[in-house]
Amino acid sequence: MNLEKVVFGFFIVLAATLNFGFFIGDIAVPDHHNEYELFAAVVVNLIATVLKFGDRTQIGAVQLATSLVADLQLIAAAMVWGLAVHVWPEGYTTRHVASVVSLSGGAVFANVVSVIILIVETVMLRR
């Protein structure tokens, strides 16, 4: 067993699960989507991205790409949330909740791809 692989797999899966946890629920109901979960998803996604840095292989490159997509989506979601709460006059309405959640939904997709690649790589190496 390789500790590095454990950490790597842990962060990728955790990024996906946290992201999914935030995403699930009624899209327009703020109570179904806890902002702490979004925060955790952003942080774990960033760490997962950094862990993928510096891998020269083809699979490593695709992994990094999916991670960057997820980061982009989640940071966009966080920004919408911040703007809605602090800047826009109408406040955190159902419309904004829906857009935050749908952005994080895109990130879920990217994270699922990432997990699939992880599984494929593992299976390939197993022989």
Partner: protein, 566 residues
């Protein structure tokens, strides 16, 4: 792909994760700890955005105190903790980056990248020089003088650094790397379409061999030129068709015997392989008679072989006693008077100090000179740093392996016909050579003449090639000044090579044909004037017909029209 980026990313993983984690912890803490208002009532904690904003300016030590509400004690305690934590995180990241920058592997990767990029962008034809030792430095200076581009690889960083300090006219890409590594050669432009040839002149024979092999297999199209010191390696190189193999010791021994047999030919040879533009040194003529050779190593044995060939009497002195047939052999260094007397120094006409130790060589020469002041002294100099000592001694002939190698390389590379010509020179007699030297002196004066090859094909000489297909031309046409056709250019044809034959010293009246190759010697100005004549239609028309053409089509047409009406 770009390996430096990968190195940076890989190394920055740990510090970046630390920073992300520290930010996350700090922000999270601030969003959990309740605040307090002016009346002492608890207020909700900071929102995520406020917390991130606060941590951002605190962590970067900007300390922008903009949050309007004063913190509660709980918040303050947490912020104290955060401040120290973030400082540690940033310091760690910065120190890692700085260390990375200073690391040799990283710098090597970076210099390799910039080297490869510079080589890829080479526009002019260039030579790949492997080895920037004494020979390499001499050769590179000469190539620079001739305005030929080159790329350098050397295994020592100091020598590579020296290139940056050198005042070369061109930008010279240089890399510290092992030339024996084929990947390095590829990076240095082995397969670059503009690469003219590879010169392997490292001090290591096996590295030169590896370069020769790599060139043969990876790019058969370009010539490779190797310096070599041992006979076995030379034979090995020859076995797979290395184009030019130069052994400085054998070369010098050959020259020495040529100088003994035919001083005129030797003088001519020295002239034509010298570095163009340098002052000519009058050469002393080595006498015939008994020679003493001190040092029977690679150089000594080559000299003995060649002098023996010329029928000279020989005495050999060497620290390790070796029996060489039909010669008197003595054990010793040759630095003391006793051994030298025993070797018959009083009767001898010349001495060759051929050991690989410069100080010993000087000592041999000085002692021998005291015993017999009329001796002809041949001195081997191994190190450039000893030049001053050797100059002070004034040997009749100085043998410097690095210089011989550099001169030979230069002659072979810049004018391929020259080596062919030099082979022919060795077969001619002394009077022939003396006559040629006199004629060359008339055109080039006391400077080493430039030698160049003219190819009469459509690409290298379009103007002359055009005329050749329409009329008969003689060699004299190529030797007229394009600014005044009555004037002769300061150049002299040495050799004309045509399909199936060659003419040594062709007369000016010689008929020339398309695709002839002609070797000229003369002044550098003559080279450039002749180049104009070869490539510029107007210049060629003027020289060949005596009429000035403007070149524009309309004037040509009017002139032709007028001629018809007349």
């Amino acid at each position: 792909m770009t390996s430096t980026i990968f190195i940076v990313l890989r190394r920055m993983r740990a510090p970046l994760i630390v920073i992300v984690a520290i930010y996350a912890i700090s922000v999270l803490g601030l969003t959990l700890i309740p605040g307090i208002d002016a009346d002492g009532r608890p207020t909700p904690a900071l929102s995520f955005f406020d917390a991130f904003y606060f941590v951002s300016y605190t962590a970067t030590t900007i300390g922008f105190g903009e949050i309007p509400v004063a913190f509660s004690y709980g918040q303050r305690m947490w912020v104290v903790f955060c401040i120290y934590l973030t400082v540690v995180g940033w310091t760690y990241a910065i120190v890692t980056v700085l260390n990375l920058m200073r690391e040799e592997a990283f710098q090597q990767a970076r210099s390799m990248r910039s080297f490869a990029r510079r080589v890829r962008r080479m526009v002019d034809p260039f030579f790949l020089v492997a080895g920037y030792g004494e020979t390499g430095q001499l050769l590179c200076r000469a190539l620079d003088h001739l305005r030929i581009a080159f790329v350098v690889i050397d295994i020592e960083q100091e020598r590579v650094d020296e290139i940056e300090v050198q005042d070369f006219a061109r930008d010279v890409p240089a890399l510290k790397a092992d030339a024996a590594n084929p990947e390095v050669l590829l990076m240095a432009g082995l397969r670059h379409p503009r690469c003219l040839g590879v010169i392997a002149i490292t001090t290591n024979d096996s590295a030169n061999l590896a370069v020769a092999m790599a060139v043969r297999l990876l790019n058969d199209r370009i010539p490779v030129l190797c310096g070599v010191q041992s006979e076995e390696v030379a034979a090995n190189m020859a076995s797979f068709g290395t184009d030019y193999i130069i052994n400085p010791f054998e070369k010098f021994a050959e020259y020495l015997s040529l100088a003994v047999r035919s001083p005129g030919s030797y003088q001519l040879l020295e002239w034509l392989t010298g570095i163009p533009g340098s002052e000519l040194k009058p050469q002393a003529e080595p006498p015939k008679g008994l020679w003493v050779v001190a040092g029977f190593g690679r150089f000594g044995s080559a000299v003995v072989k060649e002098l023996d060939h010329c029928g000279m009497g020989l005495t050999i002195i060497d620290p390790e006693y070796q029996l060489v047939q039909s010669h008197l052999c003595l054990r010793g260094l040759g630095t003391d008077a006793v051994t030298l007397r025993e070797a018959g120094i009083e009767r001898a006409v010349g001495i060759v100090a051929a050991s690989d130790d410069d100080v010993n060589n000087l000592s041999i020469a000085v002692t021998a000179n005291e015993l017999n002041p009329d001796l002809f002294v041949v001195l081997r100099r191994n190190r450039e740093s000893n030049r001053i000592l050797f100059e002070a001694f004034h040997a009749d002939l100085e043998m410097v392996p690095a210089e011989i190698l550099a001169h030979e390389c230069l002659a072979v590379l810049t004018t391929p016909l020259l080596s062919r010509f030099l082979q022919m020179v060795k077969l001619q007699d002394d009077a022939w050579a003396d006559a040629l030297v006199e004629r060359l002196k008339q055109c080039a004066g006391t400077l080493v003449p430039a030698t160049w090859t003219v190819e009469l094909d459509a690409r290298a000489a379009p103007a002359i090639h055009w005329h050749l297909s329409r009329r008969e031309l003689s060699l004299a046409c190529l030797m007229r000044d394009p600014s005044n056709r009555e004037q002769r250019l300061d150049c002299h044809p040495l050799l004309l090579v045509r399909m199936g034959g060659e003419i040594l010293l062709p007369e000016p009246g010689t008929h020339i044909e398309s695709r002839d190759r002609i070797l000229f010697a003369g002044t550098p100005e003559a080279t450039s004037k002749q180049a104009l004549l070869l490539s510029n239609r107007n210049a060629a028309d003027y020289v060949l017909t005596g009429r000035e053409f403007s070149g524009a089509w309309i004037w040509e047409w009017i002139r032709r029209h007028r001629r018809q009406t007349e």
